[in-house]
């Protein structure tokens, strides 16, 4: 398999399923040592990560996976994926700005980063493109618009006839989650969060 058919992903395990995020959507990661409660109208943005004397908006992706994907808890979620704002589109930055006016205190410095809280057991893995399955046709375009690009199944779970175990992995696009106001939905405006 040639290198162009392999992507590096961050695999985020929960007890019953896994999430994968393209490594390119993450600048670095740090263990969460100190946080500060902050109040915004976004249910998944209620805290800041204190890093080098600055406060970075910390989206709770762990809670998002539990609320939206019915994932069971990851156990411990003490890892922060850091994303540099320079790698984000103007549209996303504008949307983030709406929350940050509430998030930041007056006159407080706004660092060029945002962060996502995920399971401590997150690891970096190589995934072959052939392992990823597009959604069934009727749902493909819709699911992509919701930021769920593809799925795959853990090895050893071919499906059916007694083989009921295994995990499904969701390949998630953080940019779409932000662009479509799914991760950063307002508390009283949840129509994008879950159709159910």
């Amino acid at each position: 398999m040639s290198a162009e058919n392999i992507i590096k992903v961050l695999t985020i395990p929960h007890s019953d399923l896994e999430f994968q995020i393209n490594r390119e959507q993450c600048t670095t990661s740090v263990y969460i040592a100190e946080t500060e409660k902050r109040k915004t109208s976004c249910v998944f943005l209620q805290e800041g990560l204190r890093l080098k004397e600055k406060i970075i908006p910390l989206f709770n992706l762990d809670l998002f996976f539990q609320n939206i994907f019915q994932a069971q808890t990851s156990g411990e979620a003490h890892l922060a994926l850091i994303r540099d704002r320079k790698t984000m589109s103007a549209e996303i930055l504008e949307l983030l700005g709406m929350h940050e006016d509430a998030f930041y205190l007056e006159g407080e410095e706004r660092p060029d980063m945002i962060a996502f809280r995920v399971a401590s057991a997150t690891i970096m893995t190589d995934v072959m493109l052939s392992e990823l399955c597009l959604h069934p046709s009727v749902l493909a375009a819709h699911m992509e618009k919701q930021g769920v690009l593809a799925v795959s199944f853990a090895e050893g779970d071919a499906g059916g006839e007694g083989d009921a175990g295994g995990r499904m992995r969701y390949m998630i696009d953080l940019d779409i989650l932000l662009e479509k106001k799914i991760l950063n939905a307002l508390e009283d405006n949840n129509e994008n969060s879950d159709c159910r």
Partner: protein
């Protein structure tokens, strides 16, 4: 039937069917299955396989009658819960009828397969009703004095398409 005839029939199935269809009573094959307390059927040609003991994987952002995905040979298949769609009641089961669709991957969550039958065309009836629910049905069949509706798989995909566009 001697082996020569047998081989002829095996090698020329079209001829066999034409013989059959030349008769007044064409035989039609259906998979009859139960869904809670209701019974439905699908044309046998629309069923790819029957699969038991399947895990269902939750999928967000879809209507409730899509119970998630099933893993069929490493590929995700949309799982429709018709009991929820038709009777507003979640079906507890792990048995699937995998649909034979040209351009999609979908299956129906069912309670059980009752039987696979061949019935004469005189027992197949057109649906005359024009109401909303009739769009899910191709025709109806009479089996042991009971009228059973034959599902139209494509209509389920069309319903889902409409719902997710909203």
């Amino acid at each position: 039937m001697n082996n020569k005839d047998l081989m002829n029939k095996l090698k020329n199935p079209a001829e066999n069917s034409s013989t059959e269809s030349s008769a007044d009573n064409v035989m039609c094959k259906y998979v009859v299955f139960s869904l809670g307390s209701s019974t439905y059927a699908l044309p046998a040609a629309d069923v790819k396989e029957i699969s038991f003991d399947n895990a269902l994987y939750y999928v967000p952002f879809v209507p409730p009658y899509v119970r998630g995905y099933a893993n069929r040979h490493g590929q995700p298949y949309t799982v429709f819960d018709l009991n929820l769609l038709f009777h507003n009641e979640k079906l507890e089961s792990s048995t699937l009828l995998v649909l034979n669709l040209l351009q999609d991957q979908a299956c129906l969550l069912i309670s059980d397969v009752d039987e696979i039958i061949k019935i004469p065309s005189r027992d197949v009836h057109k649906i005359s009703s024009d109401d909303d629910s009739s769009r899910y049905f191709l025709e109806s069949i009479t089996l042991k004095g009971q009228e059973i509706f034959v599902l139209k798989g494509q209509a389920l995909l069309e319903r889902l398409e409409r719902d997710i566009e909203r």
